[in-house]
C-alpha cells in the first residue's frame, strides 16, 4: 500500500478535528435547537393568534416559510461554524502544525470544505424537514398547511437546507480571507443583518433594483414556494448564491495558498 497522502486521508483527519472540539459540536447543537425550537414556537404563536389575524394576512400566509422561520436565526450559527473551522486554526496557531502535516494547501482547504459541506448539509436537511413537519403538525386543523407532495413545497424545504450550507461555505471562505474569528463573524453578521437594514433607508427604486441580490433575500426566495413579482425566483436565487460562494471561496483559497501561514 502506498503511503502517499491523498484527499481522503486529509478529509478523515479534518473530520476527527471537526468533531473533537466543542465549538463545532456546540455550534451544530445550537443550530439544530434554534431552527427546530424557534420554528415550532413561531408556528405555535401563529396558530394561537389565527382567530384575530386580519383577512389580508390570512390570504398572504405562507405555511412553508413560517415553519422554516427558525433558519433566519440559525443562519448565524452555521456561519459561525464555518468561520471558526478555519479561524480557530489561526488563533490557536495550530495552522502551522496542520500545514506541516498537509503541505499541499489546496488539498487541506478542499478537505476542510468537504467535511464542512457534508456535515452541515446532512444536519441542515434533517432539521429543515423536521421543523417543516413540526410546523404543519402545529398548524393542522386551524391554520392552512402545506404538503411535501407539492413540488414547490418540497423544493422550498430542500433549498432551505442548501441555503444554510451555502452560508457555512461563505463563512468558511471569509475565514480564509480574514483569518481573525471576531472580525470575520462581524463581517458575516454585517452582510446578513446590517446591510438589509441599511437598504431599508435607501430610495425605493434602489431597493427594488438591488435588494433582491442580497444573500438574505436570496435565501428568502429559495425557501418560499411562491414567486413574488419582484423576485428572482428560487432557481435563479440558488444559482446566484452558489456563484457568491464559489467566488468568495476562490479568493479565500488563492490567498491561503499565496500568503505566509
Amino acid at each position: 500500500m502506498s503511503n502517499d497522502q491523498n484527499l481522503l486521508d486529509v478529509t478523515k483527519s479534518e473530520w476527527i478535528k471537526f468533531r473533537s472540539v466543542r465549538s463545532s459540536v456546540m455550534g451544530v447543537v445550537v443550530f439544530f435547537v434554534l431552527t427546530l425550537g424557534l420554528g415550532g414556537l413561531i408556528s405555535w404563536a401563529v396558530r394561537s393568534h389565527w382567530s384575530t389575524t386580519s383577512g389580508i394576512d390570512k390570504l398572504t400566509f405562507d405555511p412553508v416559510s413560517t415553519s422554516l422561520a427558525g433558519t433566519l436565526f440559525a443562519q448565524f450559527a452555521v456561519g459561525v461554524i464555518g468561520v471558526l473551522f478555519i479561524t480557530s486554526e489561526y488563533s490557536s496557531g495550530s495552522i502551522r502544525t496542520t500545514l506541516a502535516a498537509v503541505s499541499n494547501r489546496a488539498r487541506l482547504v478542499s478537505a476542510k470544505l468537504v467535511v464542512l459541506i457534508l456535515s452541515i448539509i446532512v444536519v441542515s436537511e434533517l432539521v429543515c424537514f423536521a421543523t417543516f413537519l413540526v410546523g404543519q403538525a402545529v398548524f393542522k386543523g386551524v391554520v392552512p398547511t402545506a404538503s411535501l407532495g407539492n413540488a414547490d413545497v418540497l423544493r422550498s424545504v430542500v433549498f432551505a437546507g442548501v441555503y444554510l450550507t451555502l452560508l457555512t461555505i461563505i463563512g468558511f471562505s471569509l475565514g480564509l480571507i480574514v483569518r481573525h474569528s471576531a472580525a470575520c463573524i462581524s463581517i458575516f453578521v454585517t452582510i446578513l443583518l446590517i446591510v438589509p437594514i441599511i437598504f431599508a433607508f435607501l430610495p425605493t427604486s434602489w431597493q427594488n433594483s438591488y435588494e433582491k441580490y442580497l444573500p438574505s433575500e436570496l435565501g428568502r426566495a429559495m425557501m418560499s414556494p411562491f414567486a413574488p413579482t419582484n423576485d428572482l425566483g428560487a432557481w435563479n436565487a440558488i444559482l446566484l448564491l452558489v456563484i457568491y460562494a464559489v467566488v468568495i471561496f476562490g479568493v479565500g483559497l488563492t490567498m491561503m495558498i499565496r500568503r505566509d501561514a
Binding site: M1, N3, D4, Q5, D9, V10, K12, S13, E14, I16, K17, S20, V21, R22, S23, S88, E89, S92, G93, S94, I95, R96, T97, L99, A100, A101, V102, S103, N104, R105, R258, D260, A261
Partner: protein, 308 residues
C-alpha cells in the same frame, strides 16, 4: 539531508534571512544558533513551507517541502509547542495528524508513552503546562518516524530532568543516522547537545563547524602563577602580550602561547608555579561572533542610568 540554498526572506522592509546557505547532515546533532531575532524561526518556517522564500529555496533530500508525498514520514518538526487547538485532547490531536499521513493509529499510543504524557492523553491541551506541551510537540514530530527532525528552541519550559532527557534523546536520534536540527539562542545548551554548529546573526551565516573547531579558532588565554608576578607581567608585556590579573597570584595572558610564556619566564629567571592554557568557551566564541549582529542589545550592566 537538508539543504538551505541561498535563502532570502524579506518582510516589507526588513530582511529576516539574508542569502543563507548551508547543509544539515545526517548522523549528527546540528545546532542552529543565533541571538533572538536573527532569523532562526523564519528559516525553520521556510523549511516547513509555512512561509514562502523571497529568493533561494530549501530542499529535503532534493525535494521541496510542499512536494513531499507524506510530509510527517520524512520531516518531524517542533516549532511552537503551543500551536495546538486548546480544546482538543492530546490523543485526538495526534490521531488527526496520524490519519492525514496514513500513519497507523497504534503509533499514537507509542509516541504518547515514549514522551511520558500517556497519562494525560485524554485531557484537553489547553490545560497543559509548557513542558507537557513541549512533550506533545515532540510526540507529534516523532509520529511518522521521520529521518529529519527539526526542533525550534526545544528546551524552553522544560525542567532540568526534561532537559537532560531531551539531550540524550537528540543524541540517540543522531546515532540512528537521522538528521537532527536544533535551534537555540543558548550557546551553553548547544555546547552540550550539538556536534555541529551553525551560527547566524541578522539573517546571515556567521560561521559553521564542529564545536571543537569553533573553540579552537577562537583566541585562548594562558593562566600563569609565578613567584614574582609583577616582573613576569613586565616581561610578557614587552613581548606584546595583553596581561590581566586573574586572581591574587595568577595572571591571565593573551596573545602568547603557553610555550612562549614559559620560555619568556625561564629567560627572565622567574619561577613559575602554574602554567595553564585556557580555551575560550563556546559561550565566549558565540558572544564574539554575534556581538555585531545582536538585534536588541542592552547596555553593559554598569551603564544603567541611575536617577540623579
Amino acid at each position: 539531508m537538508l539543504t538551505i540554498d541561498h535563502l532570502t526572506k524579506k518582510y516589507d522592509n526588513t530582511v529576516a534571512v539574508d542569502d543563507l546557505h548551508f547543509d544539515v547532515k545526517p548522523g549528527v546533532v546540528t545546532g542552529f544558533l543565533g541571538p533572538n531575532g536573527s532569523g532562526k524561526s523564519t528559516t525553520m518556517r521556510i523549511i516547513l513551507g509555512l512561509d514562502h522564500a523571497t529568493k533561494g529555496r530549501v530542499t529535503i533530500n532534493g525535494k521541496r517541502y510542499e512536494d513531499l508525498k507524506s510530509p510527517l514520514r520524512e520531516v518531524g518538526a517542533l516549532l511552537d509547542a503551543k500551536a495546538v487547538h486548546p480544546g482538543r485532547t492530546a490523543r485526538n490531536h495526534l490521531r488527526a495528524l496520524a490519519v492525514s499521513n496514513r500513519i497507523k493509529t497504534s503509533r499514537v499510543d507509542e509516541v504518547l508513552a515514549f514522551t511520558g504524557i500517556d497519562s494525560v492523553a485524554d485531557k484537553k491541551v489547553g490545560g497543559f503546562s509548557l513542558g507537557m506541551s513541549q512533550r506533545l510537540g515532540i510526540a507529534a514530530a516523532l509520529l511518522g518516524d521521520p529521518q529529519i527532525l527539526l526542533f525550534d528552541e526545544p528546551v524552553n519550559g522544560l525542567d532540568p530532568e526534561g532537559i537532560r532527557w531531551i539531550r540524550e534523546f537528540f543524541r540517540s536520534l543522531a546515532l540512528e543516522g537521522r538528521t537532527v536540527f536544533v535551534s537555540s539562542h543558548l550557546m551553553s545548551e548547544m555546547a552540550l547537545t550539538a556536534d555541529q554548529i551553525i551560527v547566524i546573526g541578522r539573517g546571515k551565516l556567521i560561521t559553521q563547524g564542529s564545536v571543537d573547531d569553533l573553540t579552537a579558532t577562537a583566541q585562548g588565554t594562558v593562566t600563569v602563577r609565578a613567584s614574582n608576578r609583577e616582573a613576569l607581567a613586565t616581561v610578557l608585556k614587552a613581548k606584546g602580550a595583553v596581561v590581566e590579573l586573574a586572581s591574587d597570584t595568577a595572571l591571565s595572558v593573551s596573545g602568547l602561547t603557553s610555550d612562549e610564556v614559559g620560555e619568556a619566564a625561564f629567560a627572565a629567571h622567574i619561577v613559575i608555579h602554574e602554567l595553564t592554557p585556557q580555551r575560550a568557551s563556546l559561550e565566549e566564541v558565540f558572544m564574539d561572533l554575534t556581538a555585531e549582529s545582536v538585534e536588541y542589545g542592552g547596555t553593559t550592566p554598569g551603564a544603567y542610568p541611575h536617577e540623579q
